[in-house]
């Protein structure tokens, strides 16, 4: 019989350690089956959370070999195949407080979520007595984001969160804000959006971890792009993020390509750049990586590129 070696990170409230279990391999099982089998057949002291076991309650996300998965709908065979191994290491989700073994605490996250007012602020057209009207198309806007099951996989994988727990919002919190910002029934989208901007919206690293691992395939990174657009539409242009994005936007329009030399100045302004980026600039110049005298020429076809800009403006309006 083929055996799997399963190492699980245990935590009893004080000490943490890894415990090894040997489990006979079975075909066609899920990760939740594996955890349940260990608990019921080998070690009833092992703790993890699970409930619905079909990917709707969001209880059972864990890390396996360094990545977050929802245990109930992840086929064991897929995981073994991914890592080409019969050795699995289980750990609780990253970026969460752990209470015991694989069990994490959610309340602090919900507390944090209240920053974005994660509830509808009803618009004046609706009432408790008659509800709202909302078009099918407008409903479609909130269809994907309301798939979120608060499993925490996105937060566990988020690279910004890993180094900025206090400042940055978990992708599922951004999703919740997005969900009400685009909900036509909401009467005060700016009340959800402002806190998003104030909580490091521009620090998303574009690493695509959240969107790549979300078990509900919610387009989280598209949402972040939307949130950024929305803050800029609100006039929030005087920040590094917006200025950085506009540097690219404008360079492509003017020349077709990025002017790397000017990028810091466009993003941070001359003074800030002089204060913080001088050593960087000097070492770049020294290695020939920046040539302050080199200004990119306009590409051939720049007129056509500008037509695309014009057309995109037409499409927007």
């Amino acid at each position: 019989m083929e055996m799997m070696t399963v190492k699980i990170k245990r935590f009893d409230g004080r000490n943490s350690y890894y415990q090894k279990y040997e489990v006979p391999y079975e075909k066609g099982k899920t990760i939740l089956w594996l955890l349940t089998t260990i608990r019921e057949e080998q070690d009833p002291t092992l703790n993890f959370t699970s409930a619905c076991r079909h990917a709707i309650c969001g209880s059972c996300a864990v890390q396996i070999n360094g990545n977050a998965f929802l245990a109930c709908n992840t086929p064991l065979d897929d995981v073994l195949d991914t890592y080409k191994t019969m050795n699995l290491t289980f750990e609780p989700l990253k970026n969460f407080e752990v209470i015991k073994d694989l069990v994490i605490v959610w309340e602090p996250k919900m507390e944090k979520m209240t920053k974005v007012k994660p509830w509808i602020i009803p618009g004046e057209e609706g009432s408790k007595e008659i509800g709202f009207l909302q078009s099918e198309e407008d409903f479609q806007q909130i269809a994907a984001p309301t798939d979120c099951i608060l499993c925490g996989v996105c937060a566990s994988e988020c690279n910004q969160l890993a180094v900025n727990q206090d400042g940055y919002l978990e992708p599922f919190i951004l999703n919740k804000a997005y969900r009400y910002i685009v909900d036509t029934r909401d009467g005060a989208p700016e009340q959800h959006l402002k806190p998003v901007l104030e909580n490091d919206l521009w620090k998303c690293l574009h690493c695509m971890q959240c969107v790549s691992q979300c078990p509900k395939t919610i387009p989280l990174t598209d949402q972040i792009a939307f949130l950024r657009s929305a803050t800029m539409a609100m006039g929030e242009l005087d920040n590094q993020g917006a200025k950085h994005a506009y540097a690219f936007h404008d360079d492509v329009k003017n020349k077709g390509r990025l002017n790397e030399t000017m990028l810091p100045i466009k993003t941070d302004g001359l003074v800030q750049t002089a204060l913080t980026k001088i050593p960087f600039a000097l070492r770049m110049v020294k290695k020939g990586k920046i040539n302050p005298l080199h200004m990119p020429k306009q590409i051939s076809g720049i007129q056509e590129v500008r037509k695309l800009y014009e057309y995109a403006e037409e499409v927007k309006s």
Binding site: R228, K289, L308
Partner: protein, 296 residues
Amino acid sequence: MTLTYAFFPGCTLESAAEELMISTKKVAEALGIELIELNGWTCCGASHIQDIDNFLSTSINARNIALAESLGVSKLLTVCNTCTLMLRTAKLKMDKNERLKEQVNVGLDRAGLQYKGTVEVTHLLWALLEDYGLENLKKKVTVPLKGLKVANFYGCHIVMPPDVMGFENHRNPQSMEMVAEALGAECVEFDQRLACCGFHAVFPAQKEVMTMTGINCLSPKEAGADCIVTPCPLCQMQLDAYQPDAQKRFDQDITMPIIHLPQLIGLALGISPEELAINRHVVDAIPALQRKLQLA
């Protein structure tokens, strides 16, 4: 055998990562790969323009791809993860959504172009595996990189999101290891193999990104790597050019040379470090390479 690709260099290859332009061309020539640079390519948007205008982001990349289509080739080749992602994202969106494609084409029409969807977007790393073949690559190796311990730093955008990239399993890709091993190098295992370099937020999240850079250098260093190799010039720039800034946040010495994938390949093909412009890096990679290799 001559493989021909339309070539999309991307902005960094014209300035900060000119060494990648140089080494890519050298390696392509040595392998007998023909690269036809697109005339009039624009910046891919570098994962920023969609924050201002999603449709525009798709449109400019549709134009880049349409330029390739007009060359009559089957693949457009890049050497930058983010360029690959941006181009493939635009392509996937249009190929999946006929209405969007038509709309984008209305704009392209004014620019005298048409997006058809006939050209595939690939990365040099994938092309080596898919089109060129590891066996053929091995045959070209004249200086096996024996004893060189490399840390393969993939960068996010060559594997994620998987529905756009899809070349290999994003949780455990192996393409870099396959190429490095074909060249005779030894791959070290390290925690940050699939980490994010943080480049795209280095301005608004400077503090956090510098911390990440330090960790990304320390992890392979502790695993005994001689250098990091990456298929992405943005990762390279972040880890190399910002390394002195990251160092300030760490007590330990984080020094780690960072080279581009084509530079690693070039070394194995017997091309000299200077010809591959390895001397252009902020953290000098040549001593570490010389210690282990009989360099040309």
